[in-house]
């Protein structure tokens, strides 16, 4: 569905992503793994037209969309949930969600609202609360809900589990699985490696802005990065000494 080749991106003069190629297949979750600062958000921003492409090619269903602006890409069905939950703080929960449906032509907004409230009962309790006063996790739920209201074809999820309680992380990943079953395509960046791999068909690992490994979930599980992510949860790496 989406194919990226030779993508190079920079912030000012600083190159953050170099010559990255990958594919996002239809009706699948593709996961983007990597350390902090590896370039995941930078790629997401370019894919949703918020960062200019320095070199390389982005194609949606074979059509070149490199350099298209954010509004056009949203129109084409590419919607991003930005990292660190960016909601409209002065608007209510309901207004935020309705704004997410702004570009839609169909009239089924009501049923989708109900579906989101069913997934996140917490939001249903707070429809009239100003988004800026929600707790961190409630805002994150709202950001995800708002993106879903846009009925995307391709959803870019940047760190969706950020700030969510484990029970809600489960809920989010249930939704992800459900959405994919319903035909959505998802590109996911996530530090919660276990959760991400539980839904991802394939993915790749970024380091210093380049792809160092890619493949199916099982192949990724064999990489050093994923290995360290699991190792980190064991109890025995906390002696006070030995830095590095």
């Amino acid at each position: 569905m989406l194919s990226v080749s030779g993508l190079t991106l920079s912030h000012g003069a600083a190159v953050a992503v170099r010559d990255v190629s990958f594919e996002v297949r239809e009706h699948e979750v593709t996961v983007l793994l990597g350390a902090n600062g590896a370039g995941k958000t930078t790629i997401m921003m370019a894919l949703s037209g918020l960062l200019p492409v320095r070199a390389g090619d982005i194609r949606l269903d074979g059509h070149r969309i490199t350099g298209a602006g954010n509004d056009r890409l949203v129109g084409l069905g590419i919607v991003q949930v930005p990292q660190g939950r960016q909601v409209f703080p002065g608007m209510t929960v309901r207004e935020n969600l309705e704004l997410g449906a702004f570009l839609r032509r169909d009239r089924n907004v009501g049923t989708d609202l109900d579906r989101i409230f069913a997934h996140f009962p917490k939001l249903a309790e707070r429809t009239g609360q100003t988004a800026g006063t929600l707790s961190g996790g409630e805002q994150q739920m709202l950001a995800i809900g708002r993106a879903l209201m846009g009925k995307p074809r391709l959803l870019l999820l940047d760190e969706p589990s950020l700030g969510l309680a484990p029970v809600i992380v489960d809920a989010v990943y249930d939704i992800v699985a459900e959405l994919v079953r319903d035909g959505l395509t998802i590109l996911l960046a996530e530090q919660n490696v276990a959760k991400a791999l539980s839904v991802a068909a394939r993915g790749f690992v970024l380091e210093n802005g380049t792809v160092i490994a890619s493949g199916s979930g099982a192949e990724l599980a064999a990489t050093d990065f994923v290995h360290r992510a699991y190792l980190g949860s064991s109890d025995d790496d906390l002696p006070h000494d030995a830095e590095r």
Binding site: N36, S135, G136, A165, P166, Q191, G232, S233, H240
Partner: protein, 244 residues
């Protein structure tokens, strides 16, 4: 000896919503105390109370032998209470080094100087970068370094590990252990990364709807049935605890 932080009967109301009700919590020197609970439980509100950002509706707080009374953020900081924010609040136009410099005051010396702190949290090499140009995880780490630069007695961390990769979480955990051990700092840690809470914390308090529903050792509270339903999710089992 009185505990470093002693909170009694603290309540906060937002209109009709009781965000925190009759909270009691004590934290000793050198103790790392987890404050966990579902989204919207009131954890950040507690941090805001202790750091003077949120007036109490009722209750009292003591720091050592001193009654804290009506706190403002500035007086709280000057009494040795430092904090991070759930959504990073950096000085975006200042460099990484200057962010830490604004916080460090001569007269009170911590264990580390600014440059060391930046290295210890894992931001070596980024000193000259503007804070607003950092990746999300890097911003979170800088918040921790800046809070430590205040040379506090009590450190309040609001989800410091959210969005961090395994290596950075491990480094952060080592650093927190070390400062609690060597400096006798008390640390109140709000965190959704259950694995980290289990490995790092001496005590844990679980909130739900503003009320304490469990407290004790992390292992004990995390297997408490009430906590499992409200927070971890019904299907949670130890093996599914998030790798970090």
């Amino acid at each position: 000896m009185s505990p470093l932080l002693d909170i009694r009967g603290v309540s906060v109301r937002f209109g009709g919503l009781a965000a925190v009700s009759d909270l009691a919590l004590a934290l000793g020197q050198g103790e790392i105390h987890a404050l966990i609970g579902p989204n919207g439980a009131g954890k950040s509100t507690v941090i805001n109370c202790i750091s003077g950002f949120q007036p109490l509706s009722a209750g009292e707080m003591r720091l050592g032998d001193e009654r804290l009374g009506q706190l403002t953020p500035v007086t709280a900081a000057r009494k040795g209470i430092a904090r991070t924010f759930q959504t990073p609040q950096l000085f975006g136009r200042l460099s990484v080094a200057d962010n830490v410099r604004v916080a460090s005051r001569s007269g009170r010396t911590g264990l580390f100087d600014g440059g060391e702190l930046i290295e210890l949290v894992g931001l070596a090499g980024l000193q000259a970068r503007a804070a607003e140009s950092l990746a999300y995880g890097q911003q979170r780490l800088l918040e921790v370094a800046r809070a430590l630069a205040c040379a506090p007695r009590l450190l309040l961390l609001d989800e410091p590990a959210a969005g961090l990769a395994a290596d950075d979480i491990a480094r952060l955990a080592r650093l927190l252990r070390r400062i609690a051990g060597e400096l006798g700092l008390g640390i109140l840690l709000v965190e959704h990364n259950v694995g980290l809470v289990k490995r790092l914390c001496d005590q844990a308090t679980v909130m739900h709807h503003g009320l304490v529903i469990a407290s004790g050792s992390p292992a004990a509270v995390l297997s408490d049935p009430a906590v499992v339903t409200a927070y971890l999710g019904a299907q949670a089992s130890p093996s599914q605890a998030r790798p970090c």
